[in-house]
Every structure is written in C-alpha cells, then in structure tokens.
C-alpha cells in the first residue's frame, strides 16, 4: 500500500468539521478509514473527535457512526458487533462489515477502561483505537492517566512546589496485551504507512484488536500548528513513543519492533522543547528531565528485549 493508492480510495470522512487547525485526530481518522476500505461501522466516545465531527444536525461521517457517552463506546460496539453476528448467522445480513471504536485517552484509559476490558475479554471482533492526546483536551486540558510525567495541564500546574504531573503514563498497551487478544499495536501519524499497515492488519484478524495512536493537540501541547507531524516524529525518534506490535497466538506473545532509530535515538529534550506544556523543563528542573529520560531508556531497553532486538 502506498499513498497514491490510498488517495485513490473514496473518502468517508469529510472536512468542514470543527477540530482545531492542525489537530492530529483529523489526520488519524482519515488514515484509519482509508486503510479499512470496506464497509465499516464506527463508534466514538465523547471527546474532541466526537464533539467536532458530529455536531447535530451535521456530520463528517459518510459511514455509519454511533455517538456514545464518555465511558461506553466499547460496550456499545460490543452490542452492535454481537447483533451483526446473529443477523449474519440468520442470513439477514450478507455483507462483511468491520467495526471500529474510537476513544480518547480519557475515554479509553480512564473512565472507559472497564467497558474496554470487558469487550476485550468477551472477544468481540472490533478494532479499538485510542487517540492519545495525553489529556482531556475537549474539556480544557485536564490531566489523564495518559498524561506524561512533568507535563503541564490545567490540573497539574507549575509553581514553587509542583512542576506538572507527578506520575508516569499508564501503559495501556501492556494492559491490552494482558487480555491475550490477538493483536495490539502502537502507532504514530508521523509514520503514516506503518499506521495504515497496522490498521489493515488489525481488521484482517479475527477477534479484538487495539491500536494506541499518538494524537498531537495544538492547544493542549502548545506547539506551532504546522508542527503536528514533526512533534510526533520527535516522540518516535526519542523512543518516547516506540512503534511496535504484539501478536498473541494460543496464549504466546510475539513482540515485534517496527522502528529502531539506533544511533539516531534523540534525547527526549528535543521532544519536550517543541512544546509549551514542558516549558518549565526547557532550561530548568533538569532532575525532572533526567527522570523522564531514565524512564524512557528503561522502557526502551525492556521493549527491545521483548522484541529480541
């Protein structure tokens, strides 16, 4: 699959929505739908994506789209997929239909974690996608369990005593893998064809799949809007956001690293320096930067070991 072929496919997500200029969610959703290229039913948890693309009575979606509350997109899509399976068995539906559930990091890692976990455990044939912009962006940049260590958010302020979030990011990929579902991956829009390939792999596999995608947010991360892809590149090249896949067959995990910057691995400060949410770390608070770097290095070595690199 290359970009020319992808661009020849019919678009099922239109412009004219109200996502901010430069929003990563628009880029990612377009990529996901182009990659699937067959009948699809999309569900979306309340989030920027939901609010900005399906503002009644208007919609950016040309495929079926189901609005959900903040916490229950996985439950809804479980029900929809189950109904489909029954109707298919009774020969009332002939077509092959794919199911995708989008949720933000708040909607998937926090309030929607139990509906997500339940859906994975029951084995629904749904692709779950987390659009991880590392905070509750839609309601004004509140911290989530996916907000990284040291980041400013409206609920993790910078002052004398506190310097941004004081906990590391929840490892949602490992949580998904622990359910022993057939396919889990992490992707970034900066590595576009890798992302497209992961989506095609996910929908070709029978059973639940999960892709965790980094979704740059201009007002939440505070960078220049033209840098949305560039900031993700810094995340990937610093191994803050490694690209990998985990296949599980008969309970055996197979980890695969998709990109290794090797001796071009960048220090995390290059990623932090692009974003105003880390402004307090650009020149000061070196102990926090060191702590972030040490955490990345430890996780990166661990990941390479799992992938036998």
């Amino acid at each position: 699959m290359n970009l020319k072929e992808l661009s020849n496919r019919k678009a099922r997500f239109t412009g004219g929505h109200t996502l901010c200029p430069g929003c990563g969610e628009g880029i990612i959703v377009r990529a996901v739908l182009q990659a699937i290229n067959q009948q699809v039913v999309v569900g979306c948890a309340t989030s920027c994506l939901e609010v900005s693309t399906s503002k009644f009575p208007q919609t950016s979606w040309k495929c079926s789209f189901i609005h959900n509350a903040f916490e229950n997109v996985s439950a809804t899509m479980s029900g929809v997929e189950t109904a489909y399976r029954v109707l298919k068995r009774k020969n009332k539906i002939k077509d092959d239909i794919k199911f995708v559930a989008f949720a933000g990091d708040g909607g998937l890692c926090d309030i929607g974690l139990q509906s997500f976990s339940g859906a994975l455990e029951r084995g629904h044939n749904v692709l779950f996608i987390c659009l991880d912009n590392e905070a509750y962006q839609n309601t004004g940049i509140q911290r989530s369990s996916a907000t990284p260590y040291g980041a400013w958010t409206s609920t993790t302020q910078i002052g004398e005593k506190h310097k941004g979030k004081e906990q590391f990011k929840k490892d949602i990929v490992k949580i998904a893998v622990a359910h022993e579902i057939p396919y889990v991956a992490q992707a970034s829009p900066s590595n576009y064809l890798d992302l497209v390939k992961k989506v095609s792999t996910a929908v070709s596999i029978n059973g639940p799949s999960f892709i965790n995608i980094l979704s740059p947010c201009v007002p939440g991360w505070r960078y220049l809007q033209m840098e949305s892809i560039h900031v993700c590149r810094r995340a990937v090249d610093s191994c803050f956001w490694p690209l990998y896949e985990v296949f599980v067959e008969n309970g055996v995990e197979k980890w695969k690293l998709n990109y290794d910057p090797k001796d071009k691995k960048e220090p995390v400060i290059n990623f932090l320096r692009m974003q105003g949410r880390f402004k307090h770390l650009w020149n000061d608070n070196k102990d926090i930067v060191d702590k972030i770097q040490a955490n990345i290095d430890r996780k990166w070595e661990e990941l390479k070991k799992r992938c036998s690199v």
């Binding site: 970009l3 020849n8 412009g15 628009g26």
Partner: protein, 93 residues
C-alpha cells in the same frame, strides 16, 4: 448552515441521515495563512494529502489536483511536510 428542522420534524434518536453533510460547510474564515501549490516543483508524492486534517487536498489518479479552500483551515502542516517545498504560504487579507 442548512435550514434547521423543528424538533417535531427530527428523525428518531437524533439520527443524521444526510451523511457527510459537513461537506457543505465553509471553514475558510478560520484561516490566517493560505497554502499555495507550486505545480513545477510538485512530485505528486501525496504526503500533503495524507497529513491534512481537514480533507482539503483534492487528489485524482494519484496526483495533487488542488487545495479545497472552503475546507482548508491554514494549519500549514502540508507546507511543513512537503519534501520538495512545492507549497508556499500567503497571509490572508
């Protein structure tokens, strides 16, 4: 914005049956800078098409055709990602 229905005329469950009707919207007022395509330099790699959040790059037959200025919000990611500088920008008046 299309004519709004009265609440009694709405479809059940708040359904929107007019799929993709955001396509009618003009968001050009969001834009401070306008991307401009330079045909002579373009190699039709379609990177700009892929990175646009607003579906504002119109392609055909695997080639860049034009910007849809009713959808472009002027983020200039396309300009920043174009590998051969075939996009320049101009300030909107």
């Amino acid at each position: 914005m299309q004519n709004l229905k009265k609440w009694k005329e709405l479809e059940d469950a708040g359904n929107i049956l007019d799929k993709g009707n955001n396509e009618e919207n003009d968001v050009s007022g969001w834009r401070s800078f306008r991307p401009i395509h330079i045909r002579e330099k373009c190699i039709d790699c379609m990177i700009c098409w892929s990175v646009c959040p607003d579906n504002a790059v119109i392609s055909g037959d695997g080639k860049f055709i034009k910007f849809d200025y009713t959808k472009c919000k002027g983020c200039l990611i396309c300009l920043n990602e174009c590998p051969v500088n075939a996009i320049r920008s101009e300030k909107e008046k």
